[in-house]
Structure formats: structure tokens, C-alpha cells
């Protein structure tokens, strides 16, 4: 793209500044993971390690049940993603395809759930999971996250973009709602479903707070929880190792996002939601 005017230059400088701010922690995490403790605690700001070492990574691979944590995280993130995709598609379809009383009110109520912070629902959810005896199990992490207001909103928006005559043509062919959903709608909104799934997966993969409340035993830990083992509130945190774990944790979702970036951007632009 050509930059034509001074105004364009100002915008680009501003955007470049925003990119640097966004990327700085990532760069610092990467650099710290290759530093020795001495280099980390140098008083000067050194974004790049003077002598990169892979000791932190070797330590993590040797002393941490990394595979176990990856399996735990993958199980939880995949289950949550799958459940959220299914419920979002079905609810979105109901809002688009069926006419029922108080439809708009119900949908607006769902939208309201966007504005309820996790801290508000944390206690009732915790008590509920505790009563069900699901503390310290992956199910305790998964159960309260089976549906998502944002997902329902995104699916409804994507389905509304499908020309109505396509669905009506299906109805005239005597196609059941299930056939209309699976044979007509889903193939048309596949990119949106993929994008939504990626966002859900990344969020679940990185989720720290809720698993922290539910999972207490080390063998049940997810990757973000493994990170806390090297960070101590009383000092003596092993930043190099923690950053190596953080790097390994961030890598899969980062790769997933970079691969499927096109779908994600399209979906959010269609729905009018700014990412």
C-alpha cells in the first residue's frame, strides 16, 4: 500500500507504536526465556539476551510433566471448544430459523451476559461445581463453559447473512430443520465456525483463573497453572523457566491463530464486532 499524505504517515506511526506496545511483552518473554538469571536481573534494559542459553527449556523438558499438562489442557480446551461450537450453532439457528414469542428479549438477555464479569459468577459456579463433587476434575472446568453468549451472537449474525430464499427453498423441498442446518447453512458459514472455534480454543487454552479455582492437584494442572509453580509471591521466582513454560504454552494457539487468521478476521468483520 502506498502512503500518500502526511495524514497517512501520522496514522502509520501511531499504529506502529501500538504494534510495539502489543509485541513488547511477547518479545520480552521470548528473550527472558533464553537468559540466565544473572542477565534477567541486570539493572539495564536489555531486550535481547547477550548470550542466549537454552538451559531454561532443557530444565522444563526434563523436570516438568509437560506432556501430561499438554494433554490436560488439550482435553479441556477441545471439550469446551466443541461444546461451545455446538451450542452456539444450535442456538443461533433457533434464533434465525424459528419464530417464537419473546425471541428478541431472550436474545438481548443473552447479549447481556457479555457484560457480566467472571468474578461475579465465580462464586455460584464454584459452589455448584463443589456440590456436584467435580472439584479437581477436568469436568469441573468444562461444565460451566458449555455455552457462550458471544458464540451465539456470532452464529446468529453469520446465519442472518445467508439469503433468506436459500432457506425458504429448503423448506419448499420439505427439508427438515436438521437438513437445512447441516446441508445448507453449515457449509455456507464454515469459515465463521472455524474462526469462532479457534477463538474459543485459544481462550480456553490460555484460561488461568477458573482452572486455578477448580484444579488443585498437580497431575490435573493445565499449562497456564504449571506456569505459577515457578512464580513465587515471596520472591525467588524463576523467571527464566517461567518464561520458557509461557513460551511453550503460547506457541500452539499462536500458530493456530496465524494459520487461520483469514477466517477470524472475516468473521469479525461480517458480524460488525471489532476484535
Amino acid at each position: 500500500m502506498k502512503i500518500n499524505s502526511y495524514r497517512d504517515w501520522y496514522w502509520h506511526i501511531l499504529l506502529l507504536f501500538a504494534v510495539v506496545i502489543q509485541l513488547w511483552p511477547l518479545l520480552f518473554m521470548l528473550s527472558t526465556s533464553f537468559k540466565t538469571m544473572d542477565q534477567i536481573f541486570l539493572s539495564t534494559l536489555n531486550p535481547l539476551p547477550a548470550k542466549p542459553v537454552i538451559d531454561n527449556y532443557l530444565y522444563v523438558l526434563k523436570n516438568l510433566p509437560l506432556i501430561q499438562y499438554i494433554v490436560n489442557t488439550l482435553l479441556i480446551a477441545s471439550s469446551i471448544t466443541l461444546a461451545k461450537i455446538i451450542t452456539s450453532i444450535l442456538a443461533g439457528f433457533a434464533f434465525v430459523y424459528y419464530d417464537f414469542s419473546h425471541k428478541e428479549k431472550l436474545f438481548n438477555t443473552l447479549l447481556l451476559t457479555f457484560f457480566i464479569p467472571i468474578t461475579v459468577v465465580m462464586m455460584p459456579n464454584y459452589l455448584f461445581i463443589s456440590k456436584l463433587g467435580l472439584l479437581n476434575t477436568p469436568w469441573g472446568v468444562i461444565l460451566p463453559q458449555l455455552a457462550d453468549g458471544m458464540g451465539i451472537f456470532l452464529m446468529r449474525q453469520s446465519m442472518r447473512n445467508i439469503p433468506k430464499p436459500l432457506l425458504e427453498a429448503g423448506r419448499l423441498e420439505n427439508a427438515s430443520p436438521w437438513v437445512i442446518l447441516t446441508r445448507i447453512i453449515l457449509p455456507l458459514i464454515k469459515p465463521s465456525v472455524i474462526a469462532m472455534g479457534i477463538v474459543f480454543f485459544i481462550n480456553s487454552w490460555n484460561d488461568y483463573f477458573w482452572p486455578l479455582l477448580i484444579l488443585h492437584d498437580k497431575p490435573t494442572y493445565t499449562l497456564p497453572l504449571a506456569l505459577q509453580m515457578f512464580i513465587s509471591a515471596e520472591g525467588g521466582s524463576e523467571w527464566g523457566i517461567a518464561m520458557a513454560v509461557a513460551m511453550l504454552t503460547a506457541l500452539p494457539p499462536l500458530l493456530l491463530y496465524l494459520t487461520c487468521q483469514r477466517f477470524i478476521m472475516n468473521t469479525f468483520m461480517q458480524s460488525g464486532v471489532k476484535g
Binding site: 439469503p163 430464499p165 436459500l166 425458504e168 427453498a169 423448506r171 419448499l172 423441498e173 420439505n174 427439508a175 437438513v179 446441508r183 445448507i184 457449509p187 455456507l188
Partner: protein
């Protein structure tokens, strides 16, 4: 048996009435055109037949059964949508056979029907293409093909030619009539194009503001419009509507005394104020003219010329179609017309004074 009957059918969205008290019978195997300007309720009427719109009041019967609450899929209808509604992710073959597989028709029959339909509509060889690889005309033919293979007793078309260019429209109109003649389904065709209506329809139902204005054959509608709306809607250029008055045993138009035949006298006596409807092509130059006017503008239309006249006395406008090779005087012009082709409309309600009922229901299939 497979006719469609509307009995006092109404459709409204909240307070807004879209279709008002519609009474109409469509015969089995008939080609009926729903014609009217945008927003007149013709598409809503078609969608009510398809079951895609609920009926607010009244009864809709199809094949002798009341279908007010019958699901669209159970009505056994084939429909062609304005934008064709082809599934973009499916191939042409999949688009055409989608409904047949749902109906669980044996695969051999699906193949036979589809191949036959593809051949009729010149689409053989396009089976594996996707809709976005086809031109507008081809998409329209695929949509027709999809409806054709269904062999449904009811065939509904919602402005199917509106996205085609003039050349393709001409071709498609002929194809539509051929398709209808193949197995004679009850055919309802929505359009706002009167040429399409006149050429495709066996009968035309003209609607305006949600109400049926006239239901009759194209000839009758053209020659004897039921009211001033139909008179001015049908025909290009439209029928001339001249204000007239019956006084002292004579008819006065634009200050000129004209002498109608005796059969008109009784009618005129009942309607002292009226509109006289004359088709532009029924007007001719005359040595003993009935009306005089100033030539304002001449349109050249190839084989004919359309003369725009402003009548003397009261300044009413009159259009007159003359053969292109006929010399046209300059300045003023005298015009005559044959009473055989004249329609009279009540000056207040606009109803044709010759037609006893506002809506005629002639059927000549």
C-alpha cells in the same frame, strides 16, 4: 382438482394491510400472472400460496383442501425465486437433485428426470459446475430445472426474469411457456413487466395497493380495462384518459362535442362526469377530426411514432401512435378515433361503465 382458491384472503403486518380481501380462483393447469406495481402485494400473495407467509384472515384452498396452516414442504410446490436461490456450495447437479433425494425418489428416476430436464433447458455438460461459474441466464435455467424435476402440480415463479437482459428475457419467456406445456402444472407467475404478463399469461390478475383490480385474459384486460388504474397501467404508452361530460344529450371532451353511438347514450346518462379511455394506437389523423390539439413532442419508435398532443380548450394531453411513414402536420393536428375501441370510466370511482362488475372472471384457457 389442483386449482387454487382464495376466499377473502387478507394479509397484514401489524396495522399495515398488504393484501385486502382477495377472492380469486386459479384453475388447474392454468398460467396465471400476478401483475402490478412494486408494493402492490403480488409477491406476498405468491408467498402465501407457497406457505412462506401466514394468512391473516380468509381461506386458501389448494386441490380442494384448506392449506392455511399446511407447511410449505407439504404443499407439493415448485418455486423459482427472483434471485434463483441456488445453493452456492453445491454443484448444479446437487442443486437440482437436492429436493429429490429428500423425497427419497429412487436414484434411477432422479437421474432420468435430471438428465431430461438438463437437456430441455440446454444445461447438459454444466452438471459439475458451481452456480458462481454460470451466467445470469444459465442460473435462471438451473432454477427452472430444479423446479421442473420436482414435477409438482403447482409451479410458482417470483419475477424469475427480472435479472436477465432484454434478449434473454425474450428467449426465457418462450421457454417458460414450453415448460408449462410439458406437464401443465398450475402456474402462478409474479411480474411487474406487462410484456411478460401479456405474452406468458393465459389470464392476468392485476393488483394495486393489496387489492385485485381485474382478473381476465390479456386481450380483455387490454381492450376493456376494469378501471382507470388498469387502463393506465397496461399498455405502453398507456391508454389516454380524457375528462368528459355528458350534457344536453351530447358528450363534451376538451370543448369539442363528440357524438357517441346510441348504445352509449344510456350509459352516459348514468355517469354524467366520466373519463374516456382511448388507446394511442386507436387514434388517427382525420379530415373530420373529433379533437384538435397542439403537437408538443414526437417520439420516434422505429415502425411507429408517438405524437404528444395538448388538446385545445382545456389543455388535456393525448398520445397518438401513427405509422412512421405517415406524414405528420406541423403545429396543430386533428384526431379521430373509432368508438368501437373506446372505454368509458366513471368520473368519481374510475370504474369501467361498460363492465357491470369491477372484477371480471372470464376464463379461456
Amino acid at each position: 382438482m389442483n386449482g387454487i382458491i382464495f376466499e377473502n384472503v387478507c394479509k397484514s403486518y401489524g396495522e399495515t394491510a398488504v393484501v385486502k380481501d382477495l377472492n380469486m380462483t386459479i384453475q388447474e393447469g392454468e398460467r396465471l400472472i400476478l401483475l402490478g406495481p412494486s408494493g402492490c402485494g403480488k409477491t406476498t400473495t405468491l408467498r402465501m400460496v407457497a406457505g412462506l407467509e401466514n394468512i391473516t384472515a380468509g381461506t386458501l384452498k389448494m386441490g380442494g383442501q384448506v392449506v392455511n396452516t399446511v407447511e410449505p414442504g407439504a404443499r407439493n410446490i415448485a418455486m423459482v425465486f427472483q434471485n434463483y436461490a441456488l445453493y452456492p456450495h453445491m454443484t448444479i447437479w446437487e442443486n437440482i437433485t437436492f429436493g429429490l433425494f429428500i423425497q427419497k425418489i429412487p436414484i434411477e428416476e432422479i437421474k432420468a428426470r435430471t438428465e431430461q430436464a438438463l437437456e430441455i433447458l440446454n444445461l447438459s455438460g454444466y452438471e459439475q459446475r458451481k452456480p458462481n461459474e454460470l451466467s445470469g441466464g444459465q442460473k435462471q435455467r438451473v432454477a427452472l430445472c430444479r423446479s421442473l424435476v420436482k414435477q409438482a402440480p403447482y409451479f410458482l415463479l417470483d419475477e424469475p426474469l427480472s435479472n436477465l437482459d432484454a434478449q434473454l428475457r425474450l428467449q426465457a419467456r418462450t421457454e417458460l411457456v414450453k415448460i408449462h406445456n410439458l406437464y401443465r402444472p398450475t402456474f402462478i407467475y409474479v411480474t411487474h413487466d406487462q410484456v411478460e404478463a401479456m405474452t406468458v399469461g393465459q389470464r392476468i390478475a392485476i393488483m394495486n395497493q393489496g387489492a385485485l383490480q381485474q382478473l381476465d385474459t390479456p386481450d380483455v384486460i387490454y381492450q376493456h380495462p376494469a378501471n382507470t388504474f388498469v387502463a393506465s397501467f397496461i399498455g405502453s404508452p398507456p391508454m389516454n384518459l380524457l375528462q368528459g361530460a355528458f350534457r344536453d344529450g351530447a358528450l363534451w371532451i376538451a370543448g369539442c362535442r363528440v357524438n357517441p353511438p346510441t348504445k352509449w347514450h344510456t350509459l352516459l346518462a348514468e355517469h354524467q362526469e366520466l373519463w374516456i379511455g382511448i388507446r394511442p394506437e386507436q387514434c388517427c389523423l382525420s379530415d373530420a377530426p373529433m379533437l384538435h390539439g397542439q403537437i408538443e413532442f414526437v417520439e420516434h419508435l422505429g415502425s411507429q411514432r408517438c405524437i404528444h398532443l395538448r388538446l385545445h380548450q382545456d389543455g388535456q394531453r393525448l398520445l397518438c401512435m401513427l405509422p412512421a411513414d405517415q406524414p405528420i402536420p406541423t403545429g396543430t393536428m386533428g384526431v379521430s378515433f373509432s368508438w368501437q375501441h373506446v372505454n368509458g370510466f366513471d368520473g368519481h370511482v374510475g370504474q369501467n361503465i361498460e363492465l357491470p362488475n369491477r372484477i371480471s372472471h372470464n376464463y379461456a384457457c
